[in-house]
């Protein structure tokens, strides 16, 4: 048995300062403490105890690019970041686009202990944007989230056929990476003052918004559930708000880096600040924070995208896109966006993403009988990210002082991470 005392616990009736007893894979008691000795007792005054974090958007690079990351190291990074469940994107090599690959990946994921890994599947065969992937086969293998992440489905016709088909598969969700390639071109960073000054091709907000607008129209027409990945512009937020008012079933995510950083961070052309969508302007960042608070944005997802130092130590325009995020997300989100509000923190980082992904053992208030998938988080602890559990260290937050540190992560009653003292 594990006893966590005096933490601020997210219960079904809100935050309570109380004790929590974990027995086996469930929460055995909230409020009452066991009599006998011999339990592991953790004193956690001031720390937040709530459901383990859930990330709707990670790249585990497994299979195919395991020099960057694999399921084992990705799971360790997740545990260190307070996560108990992940949705892995299907842009692996080969891509997850049929029953055989989906089954094989799901079987290996089932053997991972540190975190529950759910894989998503491609929308188009080979992620080539040409024909529909094997939805039935992947669905039978347990996949519910479908995305060509890294690319948008290039044509409206193909995406509308995907949406129409997936409407018949209960619980299926279309997740879109919004980027019109004809507008994005060779863009490297946000099309703003920094791009103009440095003379690099810009990625206009329009490249994202065109696809968001198209996808919302298609979702409105077909009635399929739609999730917009890594929203980054004021314009996208406005489109999503309007569509929701008109009854479109749409959810969306924002990344920690878009909440914390702006285009000016790219001025030095450090490749650890290169990602898609790019870091945007001040107005965008402010709007994203407001939207995350008011619920326009449902969840924070990291878009954890590992690349090795050698791959990133190249000229900016030749560097791959993406940054890691699992191990810094909790600190960044609590301190830079949500104003240390534990209820809102767990809603956006755990409860809502678990609901969207249909993960019934995650994202639940801590009460007697609930699954022991938990995170203990100290919102005030200061630390500077240096080494990572991930195989890669391409984080924009390296060397930056952050506030808020995961103290312990528990998956199905087992401690998967314990630390935060460094």
């Amino acid at each position: 048995m594990i006893v966590i005392r005096n933490a601020r616990v997210l219960t079904s009736s809100g935050i309570e300062e109380t004790s929590v007893v974990i027995d086996g894979d469930t929460v055995a008691a909230v409020g009452a403490e066991p009599e006998a000795n011999g339990h592991q007792v953790i004193e956690a005054p001031g720390a937040w105890l709530g459901p383990g974090l859930v990330d709707l958007h990670v790249h585990l690079r497994d299979p195919g690019q395991t020099w960057k990351e694999d399921m084992v190291t990705g799971a360790k990074a997740a545990a260190a970041g307070g996560y108990t469940a992940l949705v892995a994107m299907p842009n692996t090599e080969p891509p997850i686009d049929d029953r055989v690959t989906a089954t094989a990946v799901a079987e290996r994921a089932a053997g991972i202990e540190d975190v529950e890994i759910v894989t998503s599947g491609a929308l188009t065969k080979g992620r080539s944007g040409e024909e529909l992937a094997d939805f039935d086969g992947m669905y039978d293998a347990g996949i519910r989230i479908f995305s060509d992440d890294g690319d948008s489905v290039p044509t409206a016709g193909l995406l509308s056929r995907a949406m129409a088909y997936l409407l018949d598969l209960p619980g299926a969700l279309v997740a879109e990476h919004a980027e019109d390639r004809s507008v994005a071109g060779t863009g490297q960073l946000h099309e703003g003052a920094v791009a103009s000054r440095l003379g690099l091709a810009g990625l206009p907000s329009l490249a994202e918004e065109l696809v968001v607008a198209r996808d919302l129209l298609l979702a409105a027409t077909t009635g399929t559930r739609l999730h917009i990945q890594h929203v980054s512009t004021v314009g996208s937020l406005d489109l999503i708000r309007r569509a929701r008012e008109e009854g479109v079933e749409v959810t969306c995510e924002v990344t920690p880096h878009h909440l914390a950083l702006e285009e000016t961070a790219v001025e030095g052309l450090d490749t650890n600040f290169k990602m898609y969508p790019p870091l945007r302007g001040r107005d965008d960042r402010t709007a994203l924070i407001a939207a995350l608070r008011d619920g326009t944005v449902d969840v924070v997802a990291t878009d954890h995208a590992p690349h090795t130092t050698a791959e990133k130590e190249v000229p900016f325009e030749e560097a791959p896109r993406g940054v890691i995020g699992l191990e810094t997300a909790a600190a960044v989100v609590s301190s830079k966006a949500l104003g240390k509000d534990p209820e809102l923190f767990f809603e956006r980082m755990s409860i809502a993403p678990a609901r969207i992904a249909g993960l019934s053992r995650h994202g639940r208030a801590v009460e007697k009988g609930s699954p022991a998938n938990l995170v203990l988080f100290d919102p005030d602890r200061r630390w500077v990210p240096a080494g990572f559990a991930s195989k890669s260290s391409n984080s924009p937050f390296v060397g930056m002082e952050l506030t808020g540190r995961v103290l312990m992560t528990i998956r199905e009653g087992k401690i998967t991470y314990e630390g935060g003292s460094g």
């Binding site: 103009s196 003379g199 690099l200 206009p204 052309l269 000229p315 900016f316 030749e318």
Partner: protein
């Protein structure tokens, strides 16, 4: 180490110092002899004129020149940019001149190389020696830089020369106006300079019309419907020259597209400073190499 990666952050005094030093080399030999020194031209992008000009400058200082071009090296076999820089440094050079199509190449090379790096033109970001050459040429022509007005005409968005000018010429007192069709003007104007799509409107006010090459190879031709249309709206011809002040001059960093951005009569006319710009390339690069060699020792 005193290479020249960027003019950004250099004050008027420092910039004037380089111009004065270059002026000292015009028509005269160097006072210091750098025989025994090695200067490496690391040109990852083809450029005959700039490479020859740096070479001539190094020779006049008595230095050896090594030349590197990627098509003749392992860079074409996939050797990384970093490895190439480390290799060139390890072979033994006192100064590395880097030209590259990528914006951060000179800064990265300076970080990796133990020797001073001179930016020989990178990305669409900066071409510092060209900016210094043009400043020197103008100073010779007008006796000053302060208060001069220059219209830079062409694909500003894709021009390393224009961005270098935007970094340093205002510091030396030159007032810039950017002129071109909207697809050629930068999307944002962080410099706060004047912009215009109508060249004829600007001609009466400026001392210098600075024409940029329409660079088909850098993709600028792809963003406008036709070169002929551009030539009609922005090409410098006799009629446009007559709209300028009598003291007004025309400049071009070369190579020129005659009949597109500049007519023969202008290019070869007496108000063209083009050949003086080319000639000034050598003393300016001598000054920059001298500073690098002195700083590297």
């Amino acid at each position: 180490m005193s290479g020249l990666v960027t003019l950004h952050g250099l004050g008027r005094e420092r910039l004037t110092g380089i111009l004065d030093k270059a002026e000292g080399y015009v028509g005269r030999g160097p006072s210091t002899d750098f025989s025994g020194a090695t200067v490496t031209n690391a040109f990852f992008e083809p450029s005959t004129r700039t490479r020859l000009s740096f070479e001539r400058a190094a020779h006049r200082l008595g230095a050896h020149v090594m030349s590197f071009s990627p098509e003749l090296s392992s860079a074409s076999k996939g050797e990384s940019f970093k490895d190439t820089i480390l290799t060139l440094t390890a072979i033994g050079t006192d100064v590395l001149i880097v030209r590259h199509r990528l914006a951060d190449a000179a800064a990265l090379a300076a970080g990796w190389s133990a020797r001073p790096v001179i930016n020989g033109g990178v990305g669409s970001r900066e071409h510092p020696t060209q900016t210094l050459i043009d400043a020197l040429t103008l100073r010779q022509e007008f006796g000053r830089l302060d208060g001069l007005r220059m219209a830079i005409v062409g694909d500003i968005r894709g021009s390393r020369v224009a961005r270098g000018h935007l970094i340093a010429l205002p510091t030396m007192g030159v007032e810039l106006t950017l002129v071109g069709p909207t697809p050629f003007l930068p999307q944002e104007n962080p410099w706060g300079v004047r912009t215009s799509t109508d060249l004829d409107d600007e001609l009466g006010d400026v001392d210098v019309v600075y024409l940029l090459r329409i660079q088909a190879e850098r993709g600028s031709a792809a963003t406008i419907p036709s070169i002929a249309g551009y030539a009609r709206r922005y090409g410098m011809n006799a009629e446009r020259l007559s709209m300028m002040k009598p003291t007004g001059v025309v400049m071009h960093p070369g190579p020129m597209n005659r009949g597109v951005e500049i007519d023969d009569s202008i290019a070869d006319g007496e108000r063209s400073l083009v050949l003086r710009q080319v000639a000034n390339g050598v003393p300016v690069r001598m000054a920059v190499i001298t500073e690098a060699l002195e700083g590297g020792r």
